[in-house]
């Protein structure tokens, strides 16, 4: 039979790094095909080759039996390759229809386009309103806009990069329905993810990559989740479990915190209350864009909060800078790695100094002790297994996962009494995520408190004893996990009543 897309021995290297080494696989028309692998396994490079943004060094591709070697995304799109990126490329101030037209070649905005948008959105159950401004849309709706934009090109192959990492459980179910319909109508789907449960649910074919090499082409439904994970990372996954949960007294609290966002598309925080006890792991779930960024900025001390709305170890900390908060043993890992938690163009050792409580001895009377800085950096690199050529390598030269390990390690090495961490494993491969989770558990077991703000519900559920949901700037009370906890959380994430 003819395959929609067939790759033969595709290789690509960047300098000394072999990103893809002789990868072969084939996608059947109308199938949902998973591409699995850790960060840095070579998934993105492979996808870029298929989408025409990169050219392979060796190997060949066939498109429905014909030679296929796109030199740019235009050529690939012409053939029928479409892609929904992990980070959306939409203009917030334009309407849905305007955004869709901007992404297409050779069309103008008219009634024909609008009716076409409506047709597709009805046909595939993608509810969008072409006249709405994108800035007002939820993340799920934005993704639907991206998908409709792709469908307008009548794709034969739709590439989806980590599509569910930002969606609520309900939205994921809807997305899968859409994908099934698409596949039934003959459009092949290349589904990139590291959420194995989903992959097993929706894909009959999977290609597993590790370190740039092909590990296996298989049917994911014939393997267990753990088997696939082990193929991806090449070693056993350690099960997570907190053994000695011992809660002490309250160490940190947020008291009736309300704050107006200074950003046009920001979210105002409304009357947030939270209490964190010693030795506990507390989670704040919720879909991105519901006030997480605003809350995190206030917790770090980058934005001002009303007096006495934040209390740590009995002290009102609202007037303290992040540096002063760290002196009290309160540490932070922000979501954004490059440019917020780390300076891209500076070395790891210099980045180490972003978080420098006096107890670390990295500075004395504001004079930097570079020897101590390098010692500590080395310590972080060794303890947290950060892959880097040297401690002075620029932060931007590290892969996302490695930089995350560095940033988490940088704070953990200070033995925080309270660690506030946003998206601890965002874009981090399964093996590293497992390590980070274990480290957080170990920290809590030692009597410190951890506050996790994450969109990844699995993560929150597997780590936290106390779960809250942030929706539209309001924080729910803690959800009783014994009584229909998951259902309750799903409701709250979609704006259900807060009790």
């Amino acid at each position: 039979m003819k395959y929609q897309l067939e790759l033969k021995e595709v290789s690509k290297s960047f300098g000394p790094v072999q990103a893809n080494d002789g990868i072969s696989f084939a996608i059947k028309p109308g199938s949902v095909h998973a591409l699995l692998g850790e960060n840095g396994a070579g998934k993105s490079t492979l996808v870029k080759i298929i989408y025409g943004s990169l050219e392979p060094d060796e190997g060949s591709m066939k498109w429905y039996g014909e030679d296929f070697c796109p030199t740019n995304p235009f050529e690939a799109r012409e053939k029928g390759v479409a892609m929904v990126f992990q980070h959306f490329s939409l203009f917030e101030s334009l309407t849905v229809a305007e955004n869709i037209v901007l992404g297409l070649d050779n069309v103008v905005l008219d009634d024909v386009i609008i009716s076409k948008i409506e047709k597709y959105s009805k046909q595939y159950g993608l509810s969008i309103n072409p006249h709405q401004v994108v800035g007002d849309l939820s993340v799920g709706a934005r993704q639907r806009v991206e998908i409709v934009r792709c469908l307008m090109q009548n794709p034969k192959l739709l590439i989806m990069d980590e599509p569910t990492s930002v969606l609520t459980p309900k939205e994921v179910t809807d997305l899968f329905l859409t994908l099934r319909k698409l596949a039934d109508n003959g459009c092949a789907i290349l589904y990139i993810s590291h959420k194995l449960e989903e992959v097993r649910q929706i894909c009959k074919y999977a290609t597993i990559l590790r370190n740039g090499s092909l590990i296996k082409n298989c049917n994911p439904q014939e393997h267990t989740k753990d088997e696939i994970a082990e193929m991806m990372i090449g070693k056993k996954i350690i099960k997570l479990a907190r053994e000695n949960i011992k809660h002490g007294k309250e160490i940190f609290s947020i008291n009736s915190l309300s704050s107006k966002s200074n950003n046009m598309f920001g979210v105002d925080l409304k009357d947030i209350n939270l209490s964190v006890r010693q030795g506990s792991i507390t989670g704040i779930a919720g879909v991105a864009g519901n006030g997480q960024d605003e809350l995190m900025r206030i917790l770090i001390g980058e934005d001002n909060a009303p007096a006495s709305s934040l209390e740590f170890k009995g002290l009102d900390i609202t007037r303290l800078t992040s540096h002063q908060r760290r002196q009290l043993s309160m540490f932070f890992v922000p979501e954004e790695r490059l440019g917020h938690g780390a300076v891209p163009s500076m070395g790891l050792d210099e980045n180490m100094l972003l978080s420098r409580p006096n107890s670390s001895k990295m500075t004395r009377n504001n004079i930097i002790d570079w020897k101590q800085v390098r010692n500590l950096t080395n310590n972080v690199v060794d303890t947290f297994n950060v892959m880097t050529p040297s401690v002075s390598a620029e932060a931007q030269s590290l892969s996302g996962g490695n930089l995350q390990k560095f940033m988490v390690g940088r704070e953990l090495i200070q033995n925080p009494e309270l660690l506030i961490i946003a998206q601890p494993t965002w874009g981090v491969d399964a093996g590293s995520a497992n390590n980070i989770h274990q480290a957080l558990i170990a920290l809590a077991d030692s009597g410190s408190s951890v506050l996790i703000i994450s969109q990844d519900l699995d993560e929150i559920l597997s780590l936290c004893e106390q779960v809250h949901v942030l929706y539209n700037g309001s924080l729910s009370d803690s959800v009783d996990m014994q009584k229909n906890g998951l259902e309750k959380i799903s409701q709250l994430m979609l704006g259900g009543a807060i009790q």
Binding site: C69, I300, L354
Partner: protein, 355 residues
């Protein structure tokens, strides 16, 4: 096909080799420019770059010109690291000179070792206050400091002109718009007898080392670097953005003011309308030629000072226009910045054939 590929690590070889390459390219372009102008290339090159180094007088003049350039460039480099663009060092230089000189003229004929330090202090404060206007407007009202500092430069030059035509004019000077000549206590000591090389050069070199230490060892140096590279990370680290702006502008303004009073009380010896000779602007080139490195600034200032002296001789010997100096300085900066790309990128020649 030739492509630029990011290096995994900055190339140490290129850190040193790229300035050399830039010099070679500048020299080559010089030949082309001279050739087109119908001038003997080798001779002109000799006059421009070599001759000033062979005579003691030219050499000492080069040092005289380098001193203010080093000082101003050091101050500017602090702000440039932080992404605070003080383009008006020329204005702060002038204001510093006027304020410092006014003190010297007020105490005319009063002898005392304290006078020069007092004049310097007043000049520093004046330069700081003048740059502080931009800092205030930027931190309070988000007014762009590039525009404010640049426009205040013209105000400062006109203010100087008003002063030497009015209150500070030499009473016995036949109405020439000049101040009195400074008396001994208000004149900068010469450190190389028989030349005009004054103590300002020593101050400049000391400042370079102080600033080197400050940038590399003190937490403020890091604050400045982080603020320039990633403002959000600076907030994350607990640094106040407004403080960085104030600091950058006050330091660069103060040093420029000091350079101004040194120029007036040193080589010139009085306040004259032509005091602003563009050092404040040229120092921007000096700072970038040195990649904002304080020690590098000493050398880049010497190089730029050399083009001034060489340019003057070339005008005399080959009857070349005055703008020849600016052409050099422009070409130098252009090639330096262009060659610096080789530190982070490398050329890759591919002969890949598509099937």
């Amino acid at each position: 096909m030739i492509r630029l590929q990011t290096r995994t690590d900055s190339s140490t070889l290129m850190v040193f080799f790229s300035p050399l390459l830039a010099l070679i390219l500048t020299a080559f372009s010089t030949f082309v420019v001279f050739f087109l102008a119908g001038v003997d290339g080798f001779g002109a090159f000799y006059v421009l770059f070599i001759e000033p180094l062979t005579s003691l007088y030219s050499f000492s003049e080069m040092l005289v010109k380098a001193a203010p350039l080093i000082m101003i460039a050091l101050g500017l480099s602090i702000g440039f690291r932080a992404g605070v663009w003080n383009i008006g060092a020329e204005g702060q230089y002038v204001i510093g000179a006027v304020a410092g000189s006014a003190v010297g003229l007020y105490f005319y004929e009063v002898e005392g070792f304290w006078l020069l330090p007092l004049m310097s202090l007043v000049a520093i404060i004046a330069g700081m206050s003048y740059a502080g206007i931009a800092a205030f407007l930027r931190t309070k009202y988000q007014v762009n400091e590039i525009l404010v500092t640049l426009m205040l430069t013209y105000v400062a030059i006109l203010f100087l002109s008003a002063m030497v035509h009015g209150p500070l004019r030499d009473p016995d000077g036949f109405n020439f718009p000049e101040s009195r000549l400074f008396h001994d206590s208000a004149t900068l000591p010469i450190i190389w007898q028989g030349t005009r090389v004054h103590i300002g050069l020593a101050v400049a070199v000391i400042l370079a080392f102080v600033s080197y230490f400050w940038i590399n060892k003190h937490i403020t140096g890091l604050q400045i670097k982080i603020s320039g590279n990633a403002p959000r990370a600076a907030k994350f680290a607990g640094f106040d953005e407004n403080k960085t702006v104030w600091l950058s502008l006050l330091v660069s303004g103060g040093v420029a003011g000091l350079a101004g009073v040194f120029e007036a009380t040193g080589p010139i010896g009085q306040l004259v309308p032509h005091l602003p000779s563009g050092y404040g602007f040229t120092a921007i080139i000096v700072a970038f030629l040195a990649r904002l490195n304080p020690i590098g600034i000493i050398f880049s200032a010497l190089l730029i000072a050399l083009t001034y002296i060489g340019g003057e001789s070339a005008q005399i010997t080959y009857d070349l226009p005055n703008s020849i100096t600016s052409i050099f300085q422009g070409m130098l900066l252009f090639y330096f910045l262009a060659c610096d790309i080789l530190i982070r990128y490398k050329f890759v020649f591919t002969f890949y054939q598509r099937q």
